[in-house]
Every structure is written in structure tokens, then in C-alpha cells.
Symmetry: C2
Subunit: 339 residues, 2 copies
């Protein structure tokens, strides 16, 4: 694809691809953002406060962009892609809020006092609110098929998150189990977000399937890079700390690959740090060294690149136009992502 | 209503009314239970394990009963009331799971170890799964109106739960604020569960509105009694501990009423126990004495009775039949509830 994206501009090709989509869809994204703000409202003031803190905090709005671009690629002229884009962002934000919930086992019920009864509970409830709002928006499209696709995706996301809980701290997790987690927790929503663009445009099954495949492969590529960035990213560009996955004992693909090649001493290290929860300050650096020694990070990026290529290929049944190019670059440059 | 329910049988009139509904709808309830079991299934084993623990634990299935009876009252002959009854139970169970989440503030992130990363997170995610399954079931009914009603109810439930968080530990909460909490967190789902029975039966607006009013008033009566039982119930019949609301500093109607009539010393007591979170072992007994001294429990039951009468009255536009009688008794005897 011949795009006016240059690495010399100081912006990564991935960031440039996202910016290109944002520019192409600037008018629609303004409507999506307005709708998001409108539907965040509630007589219960804490809800818009808590939710807008997260939603307004400058995420890339990748899922809305995918829905809008997919609808435009399918020649859609109606208003419902705006609603579906907002719904996708609400579902995504709800899952982020629920991801942040911390476990109760460390808490003694009796010791809870007024000032601590807040964070977890409010996060869960505001997530529930956003989830409900997402369904209200979908209902407004009048499409049963859209509702079927997105309610199924929501169930699959929850399954993926539970599966991730179960694979955490468990070094017997293999590549198949890991891929199953990310296919559910991340790719399912990207797949649905892309597919519904074709559904509201009443396009034939081949185009729906193509966009669904595109979204699924993009989602997997995106998550693989995310898992690498948790070890290599810079806090200043990433907007969050590196090392979260390591501290939480998440078994991501880099770990699976490095553990497979580990000698006995290295296996003991991974066991202690990820399963026994016994980490010292220098352990994260050591983990990074081991991942590099066994090419686990570059191999994960290579895997991401295979899914990115597959995502681009899925779009080939569509005519070449600016939306096709932008979606293609979004996938193609995903493995170059720096944040 | 002349019902074959006798207090002499040793069963409370309320329990007898629930049993009557269960008998009337035994065939449908068997289908609902089978559908619930079927839709709990997931390749992720923890999900049916955790969810069935709660769902199979012998709740009364009040919301499913209301949906089924409402549909039958409206002469519905199709299969969708089974799906909606299961969906209502899933939404209810999801909110129970999310209610049980404990706050994170007492936790230090760094100290979390493998064995504690379970309870809260799994509860939240399985709740999300059930919520998604509920929407999948609703989609299968093919009714946009049903989806609109239940997605709106879900958003309102979340608002009510957040509002409840905000009124906890806050003795300036008045009757209006309290009624607003329970109208949202409890009555909204009962109202929707009843209304959808008329919607799938394609009944006119007057009947939809009547069932909606019935459900809303029943829900409020039910919650008012629930709040009394948290002070007066017996653990053996209630199936849960009394005093939970007191320990959690929830400002329910009995508290609002007793606090309004409290002298200075009593106000200090409520402030210390409910707001400052400083409770000793004898405080719950003292709270019960104060609630009795100011007739706060009987006044709350009297309020429940007003809503129960209103619920019965809402049904008057329907012809007299066994479903009418059973729904009427369910509301009318709700204030007699012992558990």
C-alpha cells in the first residue's frame, strides 16, 4: 500500500496508521465522542465522573475506528455505525474497569471501614452501567443480528478473562492455551466490531466473514504486541507501567516461549517469580534478559506479523479505497507499535 | 382472594403464595431450570461451577415466576417466556455476584500473591458472563422491545447500586433517597420481568403498564421486607446472617425512621456504628432495641403493605383467573414474609 506515512516524521508507522484513520473518520469520531458523553450521563453523578475519567483519558478508540471504517468500507450511509462505535467503546471500557478489580481474599470482611468501601465496588457497578448502555445503543440500531454478534462476543470476552485467571501463575500454560485466552479476551471484540460494520450495511456473508477475520487477526496481533510492550515499552510513551504482567504472574506468549527454552536454573527463576509470587526488585530486569536471550520477544513480534499479514489478506475481497488502505495499514503496522 | 392458603399449615402465607406459583408453573419452571443449566455451560469449567453454586442454591426464582405468570395472565402461548424467565434469573444472579465484591482500597497491589487472586475477580467475570448470556437469551426472542426494556432496567439497576454505595454510612439519607435506591436496584428488574410478559404476548399498552406497575410495587414491597428481615430474621430460615446491612452501614428505611425520632444519645450511637464504622458486639442488639422503640420496623412493614396493596390493585384490569390470584397473593402476602 502506497501511503503517505513516513518513519522520518518521528511518528511510528503504527501511530501514523491510527492517525490516518482518525483523520479519515474525524467527522464520525466527533459524533461518536459526543454520543459517548451523552450516554455516560446519569442522575447518579459518580457514574459519569468515574467513567469519563477512563473514557476521556485519551485511549486510541481503536474499536470505534474499526467499526466506522468497516461500515464505510461496506458503503454504509446510515447513522447506526456511530451507535455501534460508541457501544464498542463502552464494552471495552467496562472490561477495563472489571479487569482492575482486586481480589477479596486478602481482605477481612469485618475490618472494612467506610473509607475503603469504594474503589472495587464502584468500578464494578460503573462497568455494569456501561455494559447496559452499550446494549441500549445496540437496541437502537434495530438489528437483531448486531445484538446477537455483540452479546455473543461479550460472553466470549468473559470466558477469556476467566481463562486468563486460570492460566496466571501456571507455567504449564502452552501456546495453544495462551492463544485461546487472547482470541477470547481481545480478538472477539475486534472481530465483532469489524463484522457489525458489514451487518448494518446489509453486505453478503463473504464480506461479513472477511471483516470478522480481519478484526480477529488484528486483535490477536495487537494483543501479542501489547504483551511484548509490557516488557519493553517505555512508561512515558506507553502511558502505563511496564512489568504489570510480570508482577501479576500472567503467562503471556513471551513467557511461554522463553520457558520452553529455559535451562533448569531459569525454570526455577520463572517458577519462583511467576508462580510462587516471590519477586525481588531485580527480577524484572532478569526476566527481560532471559526473554532476550531466547528471542522470545522477537519471536512474539514475528507471530504478531503473521496475524497482521492474515488480517490484511482478509480485506482483499474489498475494492481498494482509502478505508481499505487505512484498515490494512492499521493491521500491517501493528507489529511496529511502540505504545 | 379466596385461596387455599392457610396459616395453620405451618407455612407462612407468603411462602404458600410462592409455592402456589411454583406449582401452577411447574412445567414451565422445569423448562426454565433446564435452560438455565444449558446456558451456564462454557468450555471454561470455572464458569458453570461458580455460577451454579449460586443459581442452584435454592433461591425462590421470584423473577422467573413473575415473568412466566405475567405471560400466562396475558394468554401467551409461545416459547419465549421461558427464555425471558431464564434471562431475568441470570441478570439477578449477575447483580448478586457483583454485590459481593469487596473493595480494593484495603489491599496493597504488591502484596497480592497467587492464592488470593481469585474470589473478587472470578465473581465479577462470571457475573459478566451471566449478563451476556441473559442478552443472548433476550435476542433469541426476536423482540426489540424486550431488549429495550431489559437493557434499560440493567442500566437503572447499576445506577441504584451506585446510589446505594453513596448513601451508605450517610445518615443524612432520607426516605426519598432510600426509595430511589430500592426503586432502581430492586424494583426495576421486577417491573421489567413483569412487563415483558405482556410485551411478548402483544398486549396493549394498558396491560403492559399495569404489569410494569405491579412489578415495581411488588419489588419495593419485597425490598422493604428484606430490609426489616436483616434486623429481625432468623438465620435458620433466612439462609443468611442477619445484621449484614448494619455491619455494612447501609441506611435502609428502618434506620431512616429510627434516626428521625432519635434523641441526641441515640444519634451518637447511629453515627458511631453506621458512619464511623466503630461497632462492638452488643451494638446490633442495641440497634434492634432502638428500631423497636421507635416502631421503625412495623412502620416499614406498613409501608411495604401500602405498596403490596398498590401492586394488587394494578392487576385489576386483568380477568380473574389462577395466575391473577397467584400474582395478587404474591404481592399481598409479601409483608408477611419470614425469610
Amino acid at each position: 500500500m502506497a501511503l503517505a506515512i513516513s518513519a522520518a516524521s518521528g511518528v511510528s508507522r503504527d501511530a501514523a496508521a491510527v492517525e490516518r484513520l482518525q483523520q479519515l473518520l474525524a467527522g464520525e469520531m466527533a459524533q461518536v465522542n459526543a454520543l459517548i458523553l451523552e450516554r455516560l450521563q446519569s442522575p447518579v453523578q459518580l457514574i459519569p465522573e468515574l467513567a469519563s475519567h477512563l473514557i476521556a483519558s485519551g485511549g486510541k478508540r481503536l474499536r470505534p475506528l474499526v467499526t466506522l471504517a468497516a461500515a464505510k468500507l461496506c458503503g454504509y450511509q446510515g447513522p447506526h455505525h456511530i451507535r455501534l462505535a460508541a457501544a464498542g467503546e463502552f464494552i471495552h471500557t467496562a472490561t477495563l474497569l472489571h479487569d482492575d478489580v482486586i481480589d477479596e481474599s486478602a481482605l477481612r470482611r469485618g475490618q472494612a471501614t467506610a473509607n475503603i468501601v469504594w474503589g472495587n465496588q464502584a468500578s464494578v457497578l460503573v462497568g455494569d452501567f456501561l455494559f447496559s448502555r452499550a446494549f441500549q445503543l445496540m437496541v437502537e440500531t434495530g438489528s437483531q443480528e448486531v445484538l446477537r454478534i455483540l452479546s455473543t462476543a461479550s460472553a466470549i470476552i468473559a470466558e477469556g478473562e476467566v481463562l486468563q485467571l486460570q492460566t496466571a501463575h501456571n507455567l504449564t500454560t502452552d501456546e495453544t492455551a495462551y492463544m485461546s485466552v487472547i482470541a477470547s479476551k481481545t480478538a472477539a471484540l475486534f472481530a465483532a466490531a469489524a463484522e457489525v460494520g458489514a451487518v448494518i450495511a446489509n453486505r453478503p456473508a463473504a464480506e461479513r466473514d472477511a471483516l470478522r477475520s480481519y478484526g480477529a487477526d488484528l486483535g490477536i496481533a495487537y494483543q501479542l504486541v501489547d504483551d511484548v510492550l509490557d516488557y519493553t515499552g517505555r512508561r512515558s510513551t506507553l502511558g502505563k507501567n511496564t512489568g504489570d504482567d510480570f508482577r501479576e504472574g500472567k503467562i503471556t506468549l513471551p513467557i511461554v516461549l522463553a520457558h520452553r527454552k529455559a535451562d533448569e536454573e531459569e525454570r526455577s527463576f520463572w517458577q519462583r517469580a511467576l508462580c510462587d509470587g516471590d519477586q525481588s526488585d531485580s527480577d524484572f530486569k532478569r526476566a527481560r534478559r532471559l526473554l532476550e536471550r531466547h528471542s522470545a520477544l522477537t519471536d512474539t513480534i514475528a507471530e504478531a506479523r503473521r496475524f497482521a499479514v492474515s488480517a490484511e489478506a482478509a480485506l482483499q475481497i474489498f475494492p481498494g479505497n482509502e478505508y481499505h488502505e487505512a484498515l490494512s495499514d492499521l493491521a500491517g503496522f501493528a507489529p511496529d507499535r511502540l505504545y
